[in-house]
Subunit: 346 residues, 2 copies
């Protein structure tokens, strides 16, 4: 029965292509999100994508955003798209570093580029193609589909005078930065957004990082931990993605692929712009709630960076895909460095 | 005869709208460019827009890029769109500061924001709407439709030890920065891209600024002037626009408007990304051709900034629209300042 359905669909598709390639069947994509739609930027950018694509395509493409858990649990989105049980996903490549460590490099890189420089590599410098070399092995095609401004470095109950103070502490931490914190003796855990505040309040964790001021503010961490550190050396920008089952992607017309690509590029600009625009007010509000804003002194940032360099070397030695992507990013950044120093006022 | 044609078109449009609003007539836009298509980024981003819109819309919108002069001379594009003899334009709002001084603030601001911070104001902080308050008075609707990385400060024949050295010199200069240079005693002229090299070679001008290293390289200024200064304090980012005759814009469906808006947001991301990616190699090539790269010392940048603050105050006093846009941008930047200092590694 199943075989028959597939054949019928295939025949119809072929017939459609032969008769009228320009008016292909509309594409319907059930998109499983790894972020709740209510989450500032992380979720809302996925909803913006849904709206923009549906409006601009005039029905040619129909994306439907599903909350985490509605189709599959958030962290099962990768497998569900790979096996075709879900069409598409709204996520960050950083969530899949357990599957492929290199994917983390397309999401957020410690001491890595901020959104402009990162975009140069991801969108026009071969980064997205390198990412898809990895995704294609898993029957997934992914489009870089948004970015946000830097994150903060984290929330602590007491001022942090030196990094020895953090040894043995329990801290929520994401991505490649978590490996750095582990190297510094921190006991890291990855908790989803909704689970962080209760864990912090109960003392299950001592400290946490999550995202930007405007996002962290809404999650209420300031009620428990009053010392908020900057800059977020671990995520100077964080990119998002529209993951699509590769067979579904390959079956799309040039028009449909172009429209999704354009929508994702637009989300990159919009995410960056909004992320820059909303932090100033959030910082003011946090201060009015008694939060102290700290900037890490240069010597502590240097310690974080030294630990990251060790982690990066280890990961490159362990995994060939990581090494390939890391080498590409390093070559790009080395080429960029002089420009970054000369071109900007500060 | 002409009147009859217009009436027939209007009747057809009304009939179309009444019968089938969802499948409106395809929109055809003749787009007059103020930049030749061959010009890196400044022209190529307009060609990318044309291709993306035409592909992604599947014929729903058809943009046709016309070289400067093909429909109207470059600097007559504004008037031609205003009176409806041309549908659309690919330009920068900075070209129209002679019509409306405030428009310059939506293109490039001396000591102003770079692309990320600027996008926060233009795309999500009310900047584009403020710009359209001005354009609508001229029967034009304009979409911010691209941005590039910082420009360089300019090409000089000899090292510049102090700004007194520049008094009485003839220099090609664009936009609000030109007013600053005038205040410093420089005799500025605005020459189009193709006219700069010959003027520099003949000695009609002593110095010039034009754009970014990757763009200036192609124009060959290094053959005459070997001292290249950074940063481009006058244009830390430069934005581009898709101008559309307002009646043409208002007659579009929600789908068509959404698609053009999305295409322009995508161009913002792409322009920024590409602009960051291509400067490193250009700097290397310029050095290999014997160019000396200089960075202005802080005390000279402070003198430029003081002169700009005087110019901005004068323009705000002269023109109410300028004052309104300037106040909005200043309030945004003041709100942003703390975040800019805290959030970034450097």
């Amino acid at each position: 029965m199943r075989k028959l359905l597939i054949s019928t669909a295939a025949i119809l598709a072929m017939a459609g292509a032969a008769i009228a390639p320009a008016s292909a069947e509309p594409v319907r994509l059930k998109m499983a999100s790894t972020y709740p739609s209510s989450l500032t930027q992380l979720g809302t950018l996925g909803k913006i994508l849904e709206k923009n694509v549906n409006t601009a395509s005039g029905g040619e493409i129909e994306i439907k955003f599903f909350e985490p858990g509605a189709l599959v649990p958030a962290l099962e989105v990768f497998d569900a798209i790979k096996n075709g049980s879900v069409d598409a996903g709204w996520s960050t490549p950083g969530y899949w570093q357990g599957k492929e460590p290199a994917l983390a490099l397309f999401a957020a890189v410690p001491f890595g580029p901020s959104a402009g420089e990162y975009g140069g590599w991801l969108l026009t410098g071969g980064g997205e193609d390198l990412m898809n070399e990895i995704y294609h092995k898993h029957n997934i095609h992914s489009l870089i589909c948004g970015v946000i401004a830097p994150e903060a470095s984290g929330w602590f109950r007491e001022p942090v005078e030196n990094l020895d103070q953090l040894k043995g502490k329990k801290m929520r931490f994401f991505g490649l930065g978590a490996r750095v914190m582990q190297k510094l003796g921190v006991d890291t855990q990855l908790l989803a957004a909704a689970d962080i505040y209760p864990a912090l309040e109960r003392g299950t964790i001592d400290a946490t990082e999550f995202s930007q001021p405007a996002i962290d503010l809404n999650l209420g961490f300031y009620q428990v931990a009053k010392h908020y550190y900057f800059p977020g050396w671990h995520q100077q920008s964080t990119s998002f993605e529209l993951m699509i089952n590769k067979e579904k992607w390959d079956a799309m017309t040039e028009q449909q692929q172009a429209l999704l690509t354009m929508a994702c590029r637009a989300n990159y600009a919009l995410g960056m712009a909004e992320g820059e625009a909303i932090q100033g007010a959030a910082l003011k509000e946090l201060e009015s709630k008694g939060v102290t804003l700290h900037r890490w002194p240069p010597e502590i940032l240097a310690q974080y960076e030294a630990a990251w360099n060790e982690v990066a070397a280890e990961l490159a030695a362990e995994d060939a895909s990581f090494k390939k992507a890391w080498d590409s990013l390093q070559a790009y950044r080395s080429d960029y460095e002089r420009w970054g120093e000369l071109g900007y006022l500060k």
